[in-house]
């Protein structure tokens, strides 16, 4: 049965989303985003298994590639912000507003 995998995927996604919304530390928010991506990957793989073709698994690889690229850019931004403001809180980087 694959339902459990999907439930786990949903729980992981919800935890990730909640983390993005309520955590302030940029690294933690970033990790939560990764958690959501991986929850999606789990769902893709599960569905792939369920319907019996490979498309879901292939997409999971794509997601991983994108996630890797995203990590490179995202971490670079976080490090740069930390260097200039001595803080990794996402709430401190709030200058881009009205």
């Amino acid at each position: 049965m694959t339902t459990h995998y999907l439930v786990l995927s949903g729980i992981l996604f919800a935890i990730g989303a909640l983390g993005v919304l309520i955590r302030r530390n940029a690294i933690v928010v970033f990790m939560c985003v990764e958690l959501m991506l991986n929850a999606c990957n789990l769902a893709f793989v599960t569905f792939s298994r369920q319907v019996g073709n490979l498309e879901g698994q292939i997409i999971a690889f794509f997601v991983m590639v994108v996630a890797a690229a995203e990590v490179v850019v995202g971490l670079a931004i976080i490090v740069t912000i930390f260097r200039t403001r001595r803080s990794a809180s996402v709430d401190d980087a709030n200058l881009l507003k009205y």
Partner: protein, 636 residues
Amino acid sequence: MESHIAEIVQHTGGVIGNAWLMIAFPLVGAFILLVFNRFTNRWGHLLGVAMSLASFVVAVLAFFELIGFGEEERRRAVHLYEFIPGMVDMGLLIDPLSISFALLITGVGSLIHIYSIGYMAHDEHRRRFFSYLNLFVAAMLLLVLADNYVGLFIGWEGVGLASYLLIGFWQFKPSAAVAAKKAFVVNRVGDFGLLVGMFIIWTTFGTLTFAELGEKIQPGQTNGTMLAIGLLLLLGACGKSAQLPLQSWLLDAMEGPTPVSALIHAATMVTAGVYLVVRSGAFFFPEGSGAALAVAIVGAATLLAGAIIGCAKDDIKKGLAGSTMSQIGYMMLGAGLGPAGYAFAIGHLITHGFFKADMFLGAGSVMHGMNDEVDMRKYGALRKVMPITFVTFFIGYLAIIGFPLLSGYFTKDGIIETAVHHQPILGWLAVLGAGITGFYMSRMVFMTFFGQKRWADDAHPHESPLVMTVPLMILSLGALGLGAYLVLSNRLLLFLAPAVGRPEELPEFAPFAPSGLATLGLVAVGAIFAWMKYGRAEVPSVQPRGSFLTTFARRDLYGDALNESLFMRPGQWLTRLAVFFDNRGVDGIVNGLAAGIGGSSGRLRRVQTGFARTYALSIFIGAALLTGALLLVGNI
């Protein structure tokens, strides 16, 4: 139609073939004086006079060449150039009617040019004055010589422009500037009529050339279109000739220098309306058309209105202006009577050109000697110090009141008798008008030249120089004998007949007709009444309050008040309404829209908090909503 009008013949060569020189001379004069400006200051006035005289010489030569042709061949068209391709060719029409006008314009015009040398001698802008006078002569000649309505209209606007420039010649005087503007605006109303009339002629007949129109208009053609054209042309004539209801500008126009009042606002330009009516006779005289009657009624009403106004004016020029209105009313009345009245109307126009120019210039001569005083209550007993001015003015005076055997006697009584014959009511009104003329003109003469001295302390009246008095003498000769020459044995009527038509029966000179005797009687009564009131009795040097009627006449029969309440005030309301609508309505919508968008965007930008988690939340909510919506429609 009770008459036969001669065909128009194409003409080349000779003096008539070069008649455009008549227009070209003064036009070149105006051009040189305006372009070369100060450099011509020293001899500019002489050039102006020379150009006007040259034009006169051409007119005289053309006249003699014209009378060399047989009577039926005296309408000669000269083609000049293609003006608007496919619509109108510019050309000149030299016929008895236009050549009569050309002689009057250039002849009297030249005399007034000469007079102006003296009158404007001390004005630093004399050169500019002569350039405008030349411009006027050129435009007026184009008006009467053009062989189509377009050329006539260009001349018509040209004289309007010259009139505007010359009324406002002393533009540093606010009254002159306002008077010029008023003349211009009132004339626009008339021009509107002429222009729309021309439009209708063009759409109906497909041509604006007199010759082609003469062929296309069937005799006896009568319908609403013809009536409309007639009435619109009459509106144009009313504007230019200061006839009711567009009379109000002429009295104010006296703000211009006196030679201008004599040339433009007495002798020539203001008679252009009469020319228009006579030249467009075919539109006024289909059987049973009301247009001709309208012309006669306008004429009769104006001749009375002008005469009444003339009775109460203390300003000598305004008195003469009222009289001009009145005399043009007579001409209009004559022109409204058809071929029977045309000859008298034109005859009166010519003699009036002489005796009114004579009197205006005489008034100018008096003003010249009296430090530009125009109030007749400050004159008195001037006949001793200004003998030449007095004699010439007096001849003009006798001519205008119709003293037997002088010019006005023949031409004005001709109009009155014809009117009594064709339109009895209007005719007897004209008799009454003649009586009033006798009163106000006598009043003017008695107040100016007779009675006691009422001069201002610093006034040292003196006779004017010869350059001013010689034109006066020549004009008064015209006032003496021209009427008899033109009217006796119907000389002018027979001369004009090929151009304007011949009445069924030639008028007889009837010195003892009842209307003529009544006219003479009323004139005598008016003159005696004026003598008792202004000659024998002492004239108060301050204007008395006067009765209700006097005030009525002094205020120009409340013409200005009427215009103000009927047109100016509602016009102002309209503009105020438009401004209000523009400010509140149009601007309100545009500004309100901009303010609304600005305000809402100001509120909307508060959404951008700068916190990443707010944006993340909105993304999640959006995603959740999308998912929910998809679930709802059942695609998943």
